[in-house]
């Protein structure tokens, strides 16, 4: 009986002690789901605190609190602030969540500071970074972020004439005789293929040409064969390819084998497969201002310009990189996070491995688009 009372007293004492500890020194790791360096929200006693607080509100999609904490909220509406961060027009950004952020103070004075914030967004096609240089100003005892709003350019109201061109397919019926005529599948041809050793694995790089007069839905499957002719591994190109090829269009492809060494491979079997697909020849996307940037941040940058009148929700940019002899040395891609509005440039950056960038002599970029308003 005495032992039971002692245990009850011990439990009560421990409970009180934990409550006191939790009140005085609250646990921050549970709060900072996005950033281990984040501090609890409250009044921002430093520029970093102000940025951290803002990022935490963005992580929680607490747009109202985030907007109200800004120093320059009079310059734009809350809706514009949300669109700047969260995208619109069904872009990739509208389906993304802020997965993490890094805050780096640049310089500070008594009343103003510059802080660099790198926002890492997670989407279905991977992560993308959003780098913002933030000005933080002192407002009496606390600090507030001056948000560098990126307002989307708006096209003047106009009518853009488009000679809409699309293909539809009618197959033979199920009740037709086996000898009855059916539509011919599209003919494609692999015009280049190059296996490379990369990171202890094998990467198959190549290009595919639709040599037909109809659109093709294409995939490429590669099988690595050992010296005895046995298949070592088989993979397909997944999203490192432009799957819908219009007539005479060329797409690069890249197939990664992470668990096979090139020294084990005797030959490679590459099989393109095609099917007819209903497709449209629009929108046309110009890829302007392409520029190769050297180390320390090797990349190919440029701008996508939607030359058509319809909004492109999600674009996919694929770069093929060649050495000076014309051999493919790398294929890389990027999904810009913003929608392509008509005639409005949207920047893109395709990152390159540092060792590859030194070999690149020329490059070629293609863009594909996905529009929710278009059946394809």
């Amino acid at each position: 009986m005495t032992g039971g009372r002692f245990l009850a007293f011990l439990l009560a004492a421990a409970t009180v002690a934990f409550i006191v500890i939790g009140t005085l020194w609250p646990n921050q790791t549970g709060m900072s789901v996005a950033d281990s360096k984040a501090r609890l929200m409250g009044s921002a006693s430093s520029p970093e605190d102000a940025v951290n607080n803002l990022m935490q509100q963005i992580v929680r999609r607490n747009w109202e609190a985030a907007y109200s904490s800004l120093a320059n909220k009079g310059e734009f509406t809350e809706s514009e602030f949300i669109r700047d961060l969260n995208g619109n027009y069904g872009s990739l950004r509208t389906y993304a969540n802020l997965d993490g952020f890094d805050v780096q103070p640049l310089h500070a004075t008594a009343d103003e500071a510059q802080v660099s914030a790198n926002l890492r967004w997670a989407s279905v096609v991977g992560t993308f970074d959003d780098q913002r240089d933030l000005r933080v100003v002192r407002n009496r005892d606390s600090w507030q972020v001056v948000w560098p709003i990126v307002k989307e350019a708006r096209m003047a109201p106009q009518v853009i004439p488009v000679n809409y061109l699309r293909w539809d397919v009618i197959y033979r019926g199920a009740e037709d005789d086996w000898g009855a005529q059916d539509v011919e599948g599209p003919h494609v041809r692999i015009v280049a293929m190059h296996p490379v050793d990369r990171g202890g694995g094998v990467v198959i790089l190549g290009e595919l040409l639709n040599e037909d007069v109809v659109p093709a839905f294409v995939t490429v499957k590669a099988t690595l064969l050992g010296s005895n002719g046995a298949a070592l591994a088989s993979e397909d190109s997944f999203d490192k390819i432009s799957h819908v090829l219009l007539p005479k269009q060329v797409s690069p492809f890249r197939i990664d084998f992470r668990k096979v060494r090139l020294s084990e491979v005797d030959s490679v079997r590459v099989q393109p497969s095609t099917s007819l697909v209903a497709a449209s020849a629009d929108p046309v996307i110009g890829i302007e201002g392409q520029k190769l940037n050297p180390v320390p941040d090797p990349s190919l940058t440029g701008e996508l310009v939607n030359q058509s009148g319809q909004v492109v929700n999600v674009a996919h940019v694929i770069g093929t990189f060649y050495d000076n002899s014309g051999q493919i040395v790398w294929v890389a891609d990027e999904y810009p996070s913003r929608a392509l509005l008509p005639q409005t440039p949207v920047p893109f950056t395709i990152s390159l491995p540092a060792d590859v960038s030194s070999k690149v002599g020329s490059y070629r970029v293609v863009a594909t688009s996905f529009s929710s308003s278009r059946f394809q």
């Binding site: 015009v191 005479k248 020849a281 890829i287 392409q290 520029k291």
Partner: protein, 292 residues
Amino acid sequence: MRCWGTFLCGLVVVAGAQSWGQSGGLRFPETVEAGTAFSVLTTGSGEATLYVAGPGDALRRKIQLGQSIAFGQEDLHNAGHYVVFLVSGSSTQSAQFEVIPSRQPATLSFLAKPSRLPVNLSNALSGVVYVFDVFRNLVLQPQPVSFELSDSTGHAQSRTATSHNGVAWVKMNSAAKAGPAQFQAVAGNIREKRVIQQVPGDPCSIRMSARGSGHEERVALETEPVRDCNGNAVPDGTIVTFTETYQGGQSTVDVPLKRGVARTEMPARNGAVISVASGVVMGNEIRWSGGL
């Protein structure tokens, strides 16, 4: 269902009791053409049951021995090997015969591959014909089959082939003129048609021109009507790639042909070299010096 089960069991029992082959006085012809009426004389007296089994066909009839067994035109029509049993009390007679396809073609299964091909290719189009009689039996006797490929201009090429084991095939050339072509196969008085799309080949000598656009900082590019090396207009939707190369960078755009030409606008940069290509075919190059 029960009737067929009894019938098949009866066949198994009879087959077990008798060796396969002709026995007794049952005399069937060795071969019968599918869909032919014929009769067989029986001997003896009394009632008997006749069983006939073949590929896809089975008959059971009550007959009077000593009379003829008559088969109508629709009774036996699947070609193949047939067995006959005549069961009367404890005695059984058996016979075998072949039903052969009719000599007269009735339908053709015509495979024309590919159904779409570029112009001016030699032996690129194959036509394969399977010859069937009216009962869909493959006609195994050699049959002359003529093939004719005629294009929209009326130009035609013909080939003749003789079927072997029911199949005849030829290879044809595609015409130089693009457009739908009619490919037909004829056996006897049976005719089967397919439509073949003869499409233009790769673009030939793509030429473009450049001029200042309405916007000062843009250059308007337009190709001449794009044709293949046989003069056929390359179909709309074919992708033409414009590439502008300048010091330190480049711009590209993939443009589909519309009404035979591709047109676009690119940034105007003095000294830039603008090239045009479609697939693996290169066109001309222009050095842009502005305002031309």
